[in-house]
């Protein structure tokens, strides 16, 4: 894992000091709320329905046990005992007092964490694949790139007042676990003639105008990635729309001028910027890479897993993925208990997972864009012990990628922009489909809920997506089918008129019944939908 040196630490400490000063000015009245708002937003502090919300960055989703433990301590001390893991590898606290915010940032800084650029119209937390470094099929670990870009984007002097927020994801395998093409810029590492570089995609995003990012370059060598991204950002900063905040994302620029024109402008700017010495030397990426070298794996380990306990065997089949190292496995921890809040973890659960990471996972864990957690380096021999501890803590749900592994935004329970409540709906759906056999029978089925058109819950990318809308003051839910945030990225299509909360659960049951009746062997829900098209599903729902 990456460790700060004295430079990194001094920059994060300076930010804490600056924010303390800003909060002090606000508390004494020297700053009005209007003046303070843009300052706090640069630091992930939002004013929500009931309290302040603080968003903490988990760069590229990697954490140590100590960092995780600190997140739990903060939840216990400053929040109501919970943290909420988001779809962008961040953690949100929903019940924060303004006066405490500087102390929280100071505590985070002691474990090399921060909330820098977790909101505002700037380059946000760089996200990545939760299996980075441990999946067998990647060309290189994407996290050194993500760390290089974290540093490059932190307090970037030219790109702090962009037209709108800017999200970057970096992946390095053909299986896309990070919804890369639904980001403002997506990088996919590839190897060409033995040299590592990136394919670049630009102009993806969700929100009210969802778009899948087109490729704008098939290879940028690693030593030029910083100047290439400077060129991408400069064209966007100069020409992205600023007249309407709903049209301000880069996707609208790329769409309006056309991908060829955007590409041409970026290439011109890149030709100029390459000359300016903006790229760190390759030695800097090498320095960062050294932190992500393989940990000290043991060799000669047993591959055996004792499946005598059927509940454990079920969990292994669902939650455990293949690790590149013999004798090891990747453990997915579900944060989607059937009656809980998707992505929420209590302070005690966070503490437990921190200890598990220290004891069983070479002191490392990951968070995923699907709001779950991962222990990346677990010996197969330890799986049973881990499962027992998770089971005791209510964390042993076996539903990875199943219909109850729901992504849901905070919705009307917390969010000032919401039209509808996402969380109670997620719970209703989870209860309707609670039966383990039924879930397994339905197989991979990604269900995603957003409480309004901003699409924080990724509903456009759901095999089944649900969007909360306001119909004459009444909560109403639109259903869409056929989206995907994986390597086969696609956007869902709306089925037709919306539903009440119960109505949408019934409608989901109708489409899943149709799938079970019509599927051909090996087909997931998404595949059957793609083969049959919307018509039969529509008939099943409204017919």
């Amino acid at each position: 894992m990456y460790r700060y040196d004295s430079y990194d630490q001094s920059i994060v400490d300076a930010r804490v000091d600056e924010f303390r000063d800003q909060v002090q000015r606000r508390l004494t009245g020297a700053l009005t709320e209007d003046q303070f708002k843009p300052l706090r937003l640069m630091n992930g502090l939002y004013l929500q329905l009931h309290a302040y919300m603080l968003r903490v960055a988990i760069p590229y989703g990697t954490l140590s046990g100590k960092q995780m433990r600190k997140l739990g301590e903060i939840a216990a001390k400053y929040d109501k005992g919970y943290g909420h893991f988001t779809t962008r590898q961040n953690l949100q606290y929903n019940w924060i007092k303004l006066a405490d915010a500087p102390d929280i940032l100071a505590e985070l800084a002691t474990v090399e964490m921060h909330a820098i650029q977790t909101s505002g119209n700037c380059i946000r937390n760089i996200s990545s694949d939760q299996y980075a470094g441990v999946s067998a099929d990647e060309v290189a670990d994407p996290r050194p790139w993500a760390e290089l870009l974290r540093q490059w984007s932190s307090f970037h002097p030219e790109f702090t007042y962009l037209p709108r927020k800017f999200k970057i994801a970096v992946i390095a395998s053909d299986d896309d676990r990070a919804a890369m093409r639904l980001h403002d810029i997506g990088l996919k590492l590839v190897s060409k003639d033995g040299v590592i570089g990136a394919e670049v995609y630009a102009g993806g995003g969700m929100g009210r105008t969802p778009m899948v990012a087109p490729q704008i370059r098939d290879f940028v060598p690693e030593e030029e990635i910083v100047s290439y991204l400077e060129a991408c950002l400069r064209v966007y900063n100069r020409y992205g729309r600023r007249d309407n905040k709903y049209k301000a994302r880069i996707k609208i620029l790329v769409h309006e001028i056309g991908v060829e024109d955007y590409k041409r402008q970026v290439e011109e700017e890149f030709a100029h910027m390459k000359q300016l010495g903006l790229n760190p030397p390759v030695e800097e990426l090498d320095r960062i890479r050294a932190f992500f070298a393989n940990p000290a794996y043991e060799t000669g380990l047993s591959e055996a897993i004792d499946r005598a306990d059927p509940a454990f065997a079920l969990w292994v089949d669902r939650q455990v993925a293949a690790h590149k190292q013999p004798g090891y496995a990747i453990v997915n921890i579900s944060l989607k208990p059937l009656t809980g809040i998707p992505g929420d973890a209590s302070a005690e659960q966070i503490e437990l997972v921190a200890s598990l990471a220290e004891q069983y996972s070479l002191d490392e864990l990951r968070v995923t864009h699907a709001q779950n957690l991962v222990l990346p380096h677990v010996k197969k021999a330890d799986l049973y012990a881990i499962w027992q501890k998770l089971e005791n803590a209510g964390l042993a749900e076996a539903n990875l990628d199943l219909i109850t592994d729901i992504i849901a935004c905070p919705g009307l329970d917390y969010c000032a922009l919401a039209n509808a409540r996402s969380i109670p709906l997620a719970q209703k759906i989870a209860q309707r489909f609670a039966d383990a056999e039924r879930q397994a029978e339905l197989g991979e089925l990604k269900l995603k809920i957003s409480g309004c058109i901003n699409a924080c819950g990724h509903h456009h990318a759901g095999h089944i997506g649900i969007l909360g809308v306001d119909r004459k003051g009444v909560e109403n839910f639109q259903l869409s089918l056929g989206g995907s945030g994986a390597e086969d990225t696609s956007l869902g299509q709306i089925t037709g008129p919306g539903f009440s909360e119960d109505g949408v659960v019934d409608a989901i049951e109708k489409v899943t019944d149709l799938y079970l009746a019509q599927r051909e062997s090996g087909e997931r829900f998404l595949d059957t939908y793609r083969r049959l098209g919307m018509k039969p599903f529509k008939e099943a729902i409204y017919g």
Partner: protein
């Protein structure tokens, strides 16, 4: 409180700045004001005769002026580069990094606060226009000479 701030040696330019349109259409003006939607590259043929470029920030959240400033400096402009308009203490540091060397904000700034803002970050992550060595250069001094 300060109404005007300069980091240049010597006097600041006094000539009133004209619009980009009238500047590129006439031959004798030496000061120009760039608005957010305007292309700073239109000025590149005239850098030699310019002594002042004002970049207007009608609202601090509109960051186009940062790119305008860098483009001018990257192309070798040595004259005064002044940020005017809705310029707050919280933006001065980034503006300095992009090459601005004078400031004429709508509202006077508190000198002590400006000092604090400019000195708070001992280290920076990017190479920009202000000549500061980024952290990566400090980490690899042997790579950066010459």
């Amino acid at each position: 409180m300060v109404e005007f701030l300069s980091f240049r040696d010597g006097e600041s330019a006094q000539e009133p700045a004209v619009t980009v349109e009238s500047f590129t259409g006439q031959t004798n003006a030496t000061a120009v004001r760039v608005e957010p939607g305007e292309d700073a590259r239109e000025l590149l043929p005239y850098l030699d005769r310019l002594s002042l470029v004002e970049v207007n920030f009608p609202a601090y959240g509109d960051g186009r002026g940062y790119s305008a400033a860098r483009i001018l400096r990257e192309s070798g402009y040595q004259g005064e580069l002044r940020a005017v308009g809705d310029v707050l203490v919280d933006q001065i540091n980034a503006m300095r990094r992009c090459g601005f060397d004078s400031f004429h904000p709508n509202k006077a700034l508190d000198d002590a606060a400006v000092d604090r803002a400019l000195n708070r970050y001992a280290d920076v992550y990017q190479k920009a226009i202000d000549g500061r060595q980024p952290v990566w250069a400090k980490r690899h001094p042997e790579k950066i000479d010459g």
